[in-house]
Symmetry: C2
Subunit: 547 residues, 2 copies
């Protein structure tokens, strides 16, 4: 290591570890009366938020929580959850955001694996825990979350109801300083094989992710996504990568926040309209459900900016959004990356185009955000050319990537092979540094010695006017190794045949966008495409079903 010069601070200078408590300094200072809304139920101010975080810290401490303990939360997307985002790590404990969409068996697996000490659980999820009660190993007590302050009877060992405990708790907590590398949060990422794996993020990492996100999203040239007049509503769950970390960034900036609770499409649209929401993040599936509601037809959405992630933003969805005035952007990242790696980056000249013509730019995976190193590499780890054609695995370095999987040393080392985090995504990179994800490494269809992107094919099939959605997987083929097989869902009242879709795809062959051999010979028209708990197409299941 280079012999640089490091000077000691003055004897009594304040050492400044990066801690989540610092993310709570500026928002309430910028705007103490700014609102935080819980659906159509209740609202309070940033000043209230601060007091409630102090009360929660006291309530948790009263319930026995110590620094280093793990506190799990099972809740809908609520201001309560936001309070947990701050209070739990701020006392030095670890916030475990439980994926409530997992099976009871998977949930109890993650709780035992994370060694949860205390669980905050909404009454709606009590039956899940009660059903696996005897398998829960480390939990000492439960705190019940309710929307109407009347907690249900439960066979679990309940310390009491959240609001009642907060009401009794002292209003001030002296949040300590500690090592910035202390674990702040953990949650489990589910692949299609094996047990869920626990990723974790330190205080330092979450502070840096928040600062990096605030700068990169605020500097958006179309509209700064996070500024004092913004109104934020998450539409990806808070249990999943801290709702992409945006609640931290929104709180840092002191902007209005709307928490929807449950993801009911009519409710979400109603909240958009009532609060003039300007910024959300969303997965394509939920976006499609919102766009299919009656009420969206009468909404003015020209000021709604949506970062789309989870799975690829298709041209079809982006076009349909543009017709409603919605500005969509691609956001790219994953559970392991905290998650932000890249976003759509529109240049001033791009924005002069009509919104419909910007679609092809918005569906690209975008340009890596500040502080992120990104590369595409071949199987030996060597970079492939940035020519928009060559495909490689996306690898990354950044100050906010999970450093391993909890208690899974070997898998952590595999993730970090060669000192870069391996995303498992295959992408090309254009000379202007724009990344385009082509597929998951395991979903790429290897046909006739070439790599065929299942995502590209899904995207093109989805552009057929009768098609609602498509999933393409590789199936074994004696001659070609693999061939693409498509599952297609149609829009209500629409019809199309295999030949119609093939004819639709032929035009892209004619334009040189794809090769002739990319057109699938096999296609099933289905009512539903199997999805994972986080709304991604479950290709493992599809492949298994096709066997």
């Amino acid at each position: 290591m280079a012999q640089t010069r490091i000077l000691p601070p003055a004897d009594n200078a304040y050492q400044y570890p990066l801690l989540i408590k610092q993310l709570l300094l500026s928002g309430p200072r910028y705007n103490p009366d700014q609102e935080i809304v819980y659906a159509n139920r209740s609202k309070y101010t940033y000043s209230d938020l601060v007091e409630r975080i102090h009360r929660l810290a006291n309530a948790l401490t009263d319930a026995g929580v110590q620094p280093g303990d793990t506190v799990a939360v099972m809740d809908w997307d609520t201001p309560r959850y936001l309070e947990c985002f701050f209070a739990i790590p701020m006392i030095g404990a670890i916030l475990h955001t439980v994926n409530v969409r997992l099976s009871p068996e998977q949930i109890v697996y993650t709780m035992n694996h994370a060694e949860d000490d205390v669980v905050l659980v909404h009454d709606d999820f009590l039956p899940i825990l009660e059903s696996v009660r005897d398998e829960i190993k480390t939990v000492k007590t439960y705190i019940q979350l309710t929307d109407d302050a009347s907690a249900k009877d439960t066979s679990l060992d309940s310390t009491g109801e959240y609001e009642a405990l907060l009401g009794k708790a002292a209003t001030s907590f002296d949040f300590p300083d500690f090592d910035e590398n202390s674990v702040a949060t953990t949650f489990y990422t589910t692949g299609t094989t094996g047990n869920p794996k626990g990723v974790y993020f330190s205080h330092r990492q979450l502070v840096l992710h928040t600062l990096g996100m605030t700068g990169s999203l605020s500097a958006n040239d179309e509209m700064p996504l996070l500024r004092s007049s913004s109104v934020y509503m998450p539409v990806t769950p808070m249990f999943h990568v801290h709702a992409w970390g945006v609640p931290y960034a929104a709180t840092l900036m002191g902007i209005k926040q709307v928490y929807p609770g449950r993801y009911e499409p009519e409710l979400l649209v109603d909240l958009l309209k009532t609060h003039n929401v300007t910024f959300s993040h969303c997965v394509p599936t939920i976006m499609q459900m919102m766009m299919a509601t009656e009420s969206i037809k009468t909404a003015d959405l020209s000021n709604w900016h949506v970062l789309i992630g989870g799975s690829a933003l298709t041209k079809g969805l982006c076009d349909a959004g543009a017709k409603l005035g919605i500005r969509m952007y691609t956001g790219y990242g994953m559970s392991e990356t905290c998650p932000l790696l890249s976003t759509t980056h529109l240049k001033p000249e791009d924005l002069e185009l009509p919104l419909e013509q910007q679609t092809s730019l918005r569906v690209k995976t975008g340009i890596a955000v500040p502080m992120v190193e990104i590369e595409i590499v071949d199987p030996s780890g060597n970079p492939v050319p940035h020519d928009g054609e060559a495909k490689g695995e996306v690898v990354a370095r950044a100050p906010w990537l999970t450093q391993s999987y909890f208690k899974e040393k070997a898998k952590g080392e595999e993730l970090w092979e060669g000192g870069w985090l391996h995303t498992g995504d295959v992408a090309s990179m254009e000379p202007d540094n724009t990344l385009t994800i082509k597929d998951r490494i395991k979903d790429v269809i290897k046909t006739g010695g070439e790599w065929l992107s299942s995502l590209d094919l899904e995207n093109l099939i989805s552009q057929h006017p009768a098609v609602a959605g498509a999933a393409v997987v590789g199936v074994p083929d004696e001659k070609w190794g693999e061939r693409p097989f498509a599952l297609v869902t149609l829009k209500p009242g629409e019809d199309a045949s295999l030949e119609d879709i093939q004819k639709h795809l032929q035009q892209f062959v004619d334009k040189g966008d794809i090769n002739k051999w990319a057109i699938p010979e096999q296609m099933n028209f289905v009512d539903d495409i199997p999805k994972t708990s986080v709304g991604k197409i479950n290709k493992k299941l599809i492949r298994d079903q096709l066997k």
Copy 2:
């Protein structure tokens, strides 16, 4: 310290120290062809910037620079200087930005104190160094900076001319990783007494300052000051607190940058017009000079946003700017604070007021930016009320404050007394968290047992239509302890008497803004008010002269 949980990374995970090289990742990626302009001389792209930084690193290494060495720069505000901002710390050396406005004796003092190894010096400043040549103790060699590639003959030991050395250097340098607490930059702050004191900032601190600044300035509700369509031109020198750190933030965002070279008012206005500059930072003195030019009368300045610092933004200056369409903001900080502590923060409803009516909000010191802890305290270190009236010393904590003074342990401990950095500024804080600096502690006029702010009085005197500027100091008084004494400069062709100014001040007494005893009985009308090398009123000199 709380027993939190710290998990080790995977064996081969990439440890991510925060280093200045990471600030250079995103700008060239967002916009490789974006321009960096040197006055009306030359321009190049971000891609060129990256290559030149690599070449400079090689040229410096060829000249013998090692990690841990100190490399001083004496230049005008140029893209060369920007290259030094990156290349010198990126090789692990320390950038010493020399204040070229100091006396030759002070300059040689700072060079010896910082133990400079190599000096990059513009030919315009050669005579300064030649005049003190025999007193320079540690410098091994000089690199000459010129604007026309023909270096002057010099008695100094010159390695060669900058452009020639870059031309010969290899185009790629492998910038190493090292401890993020390594010193990256140093410069000297001049008080009115004693020798200049060296402050210093680590890689970690500069990265965090940049990220904090990018978020807080981008989230400005009026216009994000740093976004891809912004055009940035510094109007406070790069040797002074890294031009407030904005060159790092602008480079991170990939925005167009215009470096003016010398601060000639007509040139600055010409550059504003030619490049449609949207964002600058400036001290009041230079702003007044620019506003006094002929050419500004024909400029469209409605898109120019200026952060004013160094000394207070007066209502008079802000009003005059508003008449030209210029949007001014107060920025607050100091050499010791890297510098950003607070800025004007306008709420959406404030912006609905006509620009002229926003002045009273813009002249306030503003609200502390994200990640900054700020307090106002009495002489015992206890917080005083945030009622807009009570005055206390501003103390701060943040991740980017100098940790001491170089080789001045005792002064460093005084700066950090009680674990907070003491700014030496006296301020009040309103219930809405808005800070208003009232004075320097040493400039407060103690009269009849009360604290009278010299800045308040200067501000009110400056609002007299005939007055160009004012300086107020305390002079000893047998009865009252001290009484205010005013130095006043008048606008060209204007006239005013002591009685006129007193009558003007009486109206503020009548309105209850100030007390009757605040009106000075003593006033000198002068041609010039003594200023320090960085353009602040030199009150020490005024007090000495009045003795």
